[in-house]
Symmetry: C2
Subunit: 307 residues, 2 copies
């Protein structure tokens, strides 16, 4: 028996379309309503058979839904909430997948009608690709999903949303929104910003050509280009909507980098060796926690062999 | 028929042991002599069957060799050259695999005897693992190897070394040492330094625990931990021996980061979007050039499926 009668997905990009595929694969809902603003994207979602009904109207899409999941850039959260609010069913769960939580909560909460359970969420999963074609069943398997319910949230609704993510293979954690935003600033936002920045720096060099950067990228640079190929709209919004935590992490990062730079300038090999040694353990812990593959080079060579 | 009678490998870590396996697999030499300073590492190399003869004495190891390949941290290059110089065979090729070239050349050249062809080299390949067990046949396949011969180098010897790397599946390019060092500073040294730095920054946070960093690392951070798990001795030496080029790239990177930081502080979404958009093309070019896998997430999900 399906846990939900009808789930409405607002936004059908990488995350939305992966959720759609998993709902279908796991039989979590009897009906999937797909909604996106762009007629072209909606047509593609229909070609891919991601839902049972398709519409560009968010107002219509949410009618009668037990659960509504907004998978849109965080800057669009308020507008979506405003649009759908009048038609949300009493008792429905409203959730999102945004990478920042305090901002999403302050944008959406004012519009949430009495009797609707707004429980913000954030699945820690994704790839550098975007759009409905980029999604796949299994994206959330073994990954964490963080929920940031308010203190007066309905426990049954939280439990129901928890079971939803567990059905998709996720492990679920709950956290205060501000703490979520600080944790994500260091584990996700700063890495993406740094990756975008270094790729930009390399692109601007006058003395090293772009074709040299590309040709010799296997020596390290290519690892950064994956994150830097992520969706620009999403990341612009993350920067604008988690500003304070990101600025704090950037300040710490720059401070540490200045220390390292000074050690290089003055030839302080001991300081360099000390820093370069302490970081191996963290990699090992990540692999042991099942959050990355153990194979060398992310397993790229395993794929090489196939070709 | 083997191209070489005897090749001596000084150093048998990730790179040296991968070369050994490839020489054997491709039949490039009739005899492989393995030499490393550490008796323990040498024993392990012997257990792995990486060579035909094993010794901890570099002086002895190079006797009668047609080619000697030093695969040691770049800071050890001068000491190795001094040790082996008296016993190098006339007409032999002496090469290395170091990540910096100007420094290696200035360290080794004074010791190279008349009649020995010193041709510095740098295969652009590797993983985050180290030691003789980490090597594997095929590491250099499809990767570039950069040679930085002096202007008066013997063309036949350069051609012979070129054929050697080609036999291992590499593409070979030649370059001036200083240019090599600038190219590698941006495509390899800066990425590793940045990766080490961000992992250190995360480790030092008081408000986010290490277990949170590990648990949620799939959102970006884990990509950096691979590079930051590389061999600390190797990277200390790279920083000390390519100081000027690295300091220049670090200065540019920090300048660009300050610009980005200011755009975040003042909410300049257009500037952020512009930077975040221009970087996708570079990723695409790297994949098209065969220097990274096309699969999303470095193909990690392909490995997920197997488990």
């Amino acid at each position: 028996m399906s846990e939900f009668e009808r789930i409405t997905l607002i936004g059908i990009g990488l995350i939305g379309s992966s959720i759609a595929r998993d709902i279908r694969a796991k039989g979590v809902a009897r009906e999937i309503v797909v909604c996106t603003r762009s007629p072209e994207t909606l047509r593609r979602a229909e070609e891919l058979g991601l839902g049972d009904r398709y519409t560009t109207s968010a107002e219509d899409a949410v009618r009668g839904a037990d659960m509504v999941i907004a998978s849109v850039p965080v800057g669009a959260s308020g507008a979506v909430a405003e649009q759908i609010a009048p038609n949300l069913k009493k008792g429905a769960i409203l959730t999102d997948v945004g990478s920042t939580k305090a901002s999403v909560i302050s944008q959406m909460t004012p519009f949430v009608p009495e009797g609707v359970h707004f429980i913000p969420g954030h699945p820690i999963a994704g790839t550098e690709k975007s759009g409905p074609d980029a999604g796949f069943a299994g994206l959330f398997k073994g990954r964490w999903c963080i929920l940031t319910p308010s203190e007066d949230a309905d426990p049954d609704a939280v439990a129901r949303l928890t079971r939803f993510w567990q059905a998709l293979g996720s492990r679920v954690d709950t956290m205060a929104p501000d703490h979520h935003d600080r944790v994500l600033a260091i584990v996700s936002h700063l890495p993406h910003i740094i990756a975008y920045n270094i790729v930009g720096t390399a692109d601007d060099l006058e003395t090293v050509t772009q074709s040299e950067v590309i040709q010799y990228s296997a020596s390290g640079f290519r690892d950064f280009t994956r994150l830097a190929a992520s969706d620009p709209t999403m990341w612009r919004d993350v920067c604008l909507h988690n500003r304070d935590a990101i600025l704090e992490m950037l300040a710490r990062f720059s401070e540490d980098l200045a220390y390292l730079q000074r050690a290089i300038r003055w030839g302080e090999g001991d300081k360099l060796f000390e820093l370069f040694s302490r970081t191996r353990d963290i990699r090992r812990s990540i692999v042991e926690a099942g959050q990355d593959v153990e194979a060398a080079d992310f397993g790229r060579h395993a794929l090489d062999d196939k070709s």
